[in-house]
Amino acid sequence: MSDEVIADEAPITFNVKSSSDAKYVLTLPLSTTVLDLKTKLSASEYADTPPDRQRLIYSGRVLKDADSLASYKIKEGNTVHLVKSAASNQRQNPANQSSAPNPTTSSSQGVPTNLAAGTGNNPLAGLTGARYAGLAQLPGAGMFGPDGGMGAPPGPEQMAEMLQNPQYASQLNEVLANPDLVNSMIEGNPMLRGMGDSARQALNNPQFRRMMTDPETLRQMAQMQRQFPGMFGGMGGMGGGQNQAFPAPGVTDQTPEQPSGERAATPNQPNTVPQQPPMNPFGMGLFGNPGGSAGAAGNPFAALFPNAPQPQSGNATGNNASTTGQTPDNQQGAPSTTQQQPPSNPFQQMAAQMASNPAFMQNMMGMLGGGNPGAGGQGQQDPNPGAFNPFGALFGPGGMGGGGGANPFGAAASPPAPADNRPPEERYEAQLRQLNDMGFYEFERNVEALRRTGGSVQGAVEYLLTH
């Protein structure tokens, strides 16, 4: 068909599905006629049916022998249905003659079917029913936003707000108890996907789930986060990168130095920091400390939270690849290491001070937040790859980046990004307009979607269509 010849003569690969469920994959140039295709299909390795008994259907049309594949705009990856007829009744619909387009060359500028807006393949599509109504505000799925979730983590206020919601715990539990949803969360997030089973385990871990659903812990966390925005990053960094970040001459290989030193200082004062205990289960995991021995030693926050938490946290973040070296109750070196600590180690000092003066904590936190934005960077060299911080996963991609130590908030918060306090309609003005133009009119949801995707319209559309 000379008038069908298309500049782009590259062959396309498409599927032919026969009524007997057989599927053939063919690669043919677009100029191939339907009759040629049928002839090819008649070969024994394909349908093994004479051409005159084949009927090919594509996109709601019966293909006519004389036409080329291009005239039906068959595209890469599409599927043509093959129906074998008993008799060789080669009649076709005259109506198609009139309606059959007579395209000369325009196959390339058709409708953008690759928009991938479809929920057809989306594993989440089935979950958008009433059963899951209201789940959109969960931290789970939403935080793993299309852009990795880091674009706009929920602010502390939003977090706090969310935590006020009494349904939160049960919803979250339900979500996490649903293996499908967990799987799709994992699938939908490149970072988690890379982690494979450990992510799944973490989400399935009842202990982890309990932590997540304990509003008290979460509120504590949000509070912490508010108090020192740089912390999550900074701590993550310090966790693994301790040796570079806070050199402690002479004790570099004394793994439990800081915790134990701290314990020595405050062995029996659990009450001096009354607001802390609920926070403790997060102690290690939250701060990106992967639980390796180096991490345990280097986590200054281990020092901040004396007493029981470390063993606990080791379990709580039970998916740590290496909890082995974590021996915080190793007291042997305690007295001596405290002596060895040069006064120049600010954290040691501070920790000691803080232990006896809970109020001092505030100052310190403030200082950490403001003064150590760079610490997060150290996390990138975290020598404990594979360690898994479940909260890191929750909060975004950074957590996995450099191994356990690179806490996500490192990426976001160091240097601490100035908070954008403009109202969403202003911040996302252009994107909202685009969404409106596309037909999404629900302001609240649009804003939410944009927020979750860091202002990416494409991501927001995907989010809107899947939630």
Partner: protein, 140 residues
């Protein structure tokens, strides 16, 4: 909580599904004019259900998705002649009131839903033996 999927997104989804053949085997559908940005007019085919008078026949239909689709059902019209109670014997139009899926249209029904339902309708015991016009004849 699901956002109301706007018309065009919905139709693009359906288009992709139709082209990729992800749906049911026996039904196929696609845009009648691939350049129609409004995606209003569609072709559909139904492969006649086995063990019925429709066996081995391929029925062609035109589907028109109006501006209010998918809030309102599309209009469906047989091109191939067919003898069915729900089909107007002059125009080939499917009578909405006689096909439950059109009569009780829901927003999440698709064109595929309609085609599958029509095929099921053809295969109903009271319909499958109806005498059919010669294959290849069309409504005009």
């Amino acid at each position: 909580m699901t956002a109301k999927v706007p018309r065009n997104f919905r139709l693009l989804e359906e288009l992709e599904k139709g082209e990729k053949g992800l749906g049911a085997e026996a039904c196929s559908y696609g845009l009648s004019d691939g350049d129609d940005l409004l995606m209003s007019n569609w072709n559909g085919t139904i492969l006649g259900p086995p063990h019925s008078a429709h066996e081995n026949r391929i029925y062609s239909l035109n589907i028109h998705c109006g501006d209010h689709y998918p809030d309102a059902p599309p209009t469906v019209q047989f091109v191939s002649k067919i003898n069915l109670p729900c089909v107007d014997q002059k125009s080939g139009k499917v009578d909405h009131s006689r096909l439950p899926c059109l009569h009780q249209w829901k927003r999440d029904y698709t064109m595929e839903t309609i085609l599958i339902e029509l095929r099921r309708y053809m295969a109903l015991p009271q319909h499958k033996k109806l005498a059919q016009p010669a294959e290849g004849s069309t409504f005009t």
